[in-house]
Amino acid sequence: MSKNQTPPNPGAEGQGIAGHGAFFQQTNLSPEEAEKATDWVRKHVDKRSMDLGERMDDIRDHMWELEKEGEIIVHRITDEHKPETVQTLFGWDKKIPTTRLWHHKSCGQCGNIPGYPTSLLWFMNEFGYQPGVDYLDETDQTSCTAWNYHGSGIGNVESLAAVFLRNFHQAYVSGKQHGHELGHFYPLVHCGTSFGNYKEIRKYLIESADLREKVKKILGKLGRLVDGKLVIPEEIVHYSEWVHVMRHRIANELQKIDISNLRVTVHAACHYYKMVHEDAIYDPTVLGGNRAAPGTSIAQALGAQVIDYSTWYDCCGFGFRHIISEREFTRSFTMDRKIRVAREEANADVMLGIDTGCITTMDKNQWIGQAHGQNYSMPIMADVQLAALACGADPFKIVQLQWHASPCEEVVEKMGISWSDAKAKFEQYLKEVEQGNIEYLYDPKLAVGG
């Protein structure tokens, strides 16, 4: 239709309402009758409570059966872990322990974005958690090795399973060294890929007697069986799920800075919600329950403006192998599909992530975009880092933003924190560090494990 043509009159004889065709007829219902007839349109459909019948198995049911048969020991989340119950994709319950946590660190976070774990530990201290009792960070743990597996193909299900069981066995027994019972500390997995990988491996372990048999020999040799049995966790819990269940306490008890002026976009990590997707948390109060809740929910609780964008479902471009050896793919994808869209559509002040690889990818690959005329940028950080800033944590000492390449200065300033003052203070602190005067979040002696 050209611009000068008049649109058809919806009420004209024989024309019907535009788009409904000539067969359209008025119902002549009263307003009350019309409202009743269209009730179903307004009805809230709880997508989380659909009946899946036999189409989807809850692997945890089989886990309990295996324990009953004496095959495994389940590391339980008890009342002592003060759990919160949340709902996952299909409306299944998932218990998230809030205390007595064993920090299972992420190699990418610790190596590259250290403000990620420090912000998390800082929060636990702010809530009055006692290190060595309410949480433990120790040296007796390895990477999950899944980054390497997904990148190179070196490794296999047995090696991934043995690493999973070794690390989680250590979590189970770690309390003993500090005078607690077995199972005192419950593992809190920091990395999204570890989280996805461990869930996948747990599923294989529960489904395959052959795999259990093979890894049992390895764990036996390592002295990592309990009463001759493998230890498998009741739930695999990601740190962002802890932040999610603590979000109202964080906002109500600790928030110091109003961030209602911030426009926030969120990139949910693929390995958080696309691997063993039935285990990811969704909440009807967070973007209508149409997006995985962690990450977004804390931004919402802190009062930021959460802005959605069309490429929310895309991965970041990390690729495991690609970030190391095919960086053209990684940076092109992250700039074209994430940063540009978050900038142009959402005009966001910051993009939050809930995983290691995504934050590294999106944070580090912006500057090079200028070579292709992509002259835009966006501060990138983890949900827990933004939350810590909003609760008054030091941008350098605690949030460790000095390791980020994206312009985090901009969002810090917009929150009313002086970047230059904080930086000058930190540079003074570095002189203290050189003299050996180092501040710690917990007594370093507690870290010695194994």
Binding site: G108, C110, G111, N112, P114, P117, T118, D137, D140, Q141, T142, S143, T145, W147, N148, H150, G151, S152, I154, G155, N156, V157, A162, V163, R166, E207, L211, K217, I218, K221, L222, H271, K274, M275, Y313, C315, G317, F318, F329, S332, F333, R337, K364, N365, Q366, W367, I368, K397, C408, E409, F426, L430, V433, E434, I438, Y440, A447, V448, G449, G450
Partner: protein, 230 residues
């Protein structure tokens, strides 16, 4: 070029993986996986094609796809989350990569060459990467703002208020006992054998390192026993 029998053997190895039936349940050719795949936007790669080749047991084209295509997958698993048949093309690619390594395929060797440094770090320390691998000099494409505070790496790491993170050669401090346990896992699961097939030089370096660390651990154990006797 492999013979048909060799290609058949490779396919048999793929489908005998216990995950295979879990990851492949049928295919409507709907292409949702490819439509949503990040790698499909940049490479000659389609998860739908991978699934179709496997589903139709097209052994020579499966072999062909293993030369290059399977290494394009970003392993994000978006395909798996979207597939109406609950296939996991990304999971199938992971199996194919493992088999490519098992058969010492050149494509795997080429792909893994730039991965050597990461592999060395992971196998020997139990950490995938470390702060000293992520220095500005190694990543000029990350731009001038990569380090917002001047200072040497050691001091900057010491300024992290968490004891386990005050390291430069590993992402966090891993106890010696833990690393030694990892070596046992690598050995007993055939990971070191796979590595030897892929890169003999790297394997030799890693073996020497492992021997050294094991000796160090034995010495430490002896010291502990002596202390206990005293």
């Amino acid at each position: 070029m492999a013979t048909y029998a060799e290609m058949q053997e490779i396919f048999d190895d793929i489908r005998s993986d216990f995950r295979y039936d879990h990851e492949l349940n049928g295919c409507l050719n709907c292409g949702i996986c490819t439509a949503t795949c990040p790698s499909a936007q940049f490479y000659d790669y389609s998860p739908r094609e991978i699934v179709q080749l496997l589903w139709t047991e097209n052994v020579d084209q499966i072999y062909d796809a293993m030369q290059e295509k399977i290494w394009a997958c970003a392993q994000c698993m978006t395909c798996a989350a979207r597939c109406p048949f609950k296939n996991s093309p990304g999971g199938l690619v992971a199996i194919m990569r493992e088999v490519a390594i098992k058969h010492g395929m050149d494509s795997a060797r080429d792909v893994l060459r730039p991965f050597g440094r990461v592999m060395l770090k992971l196998i020997t320390t139990g950490n995938q990467l470390s702060p000293d691998m992520i220095q500005p000099d190694h990543f000029p494409d990350w731009g001038p703002n990569i380090q917002k505070v001047e200072g040497d790496l050691k001091t900057l790491r010491k300024a992290i208020p968490v004891k386990t993170l005050q390291t430069t050669a590993t992402a966090w401090e891993v106890s010696l006992k833990t690393s030694v346990e990892m070596y046992t896992i690598w050995e007993m699961t055939g990971v070191l054998d796979a590595l030897e097939l892929m890169d003999e030089n790297l394997f030799d370096v890693i073996e020497d390192f492992i021997d050294e660390k094991r000796e160090e651990y034995e010495d430490w154990l002896e010291e502990q026993e002596e202390d206990d006797d005293d």
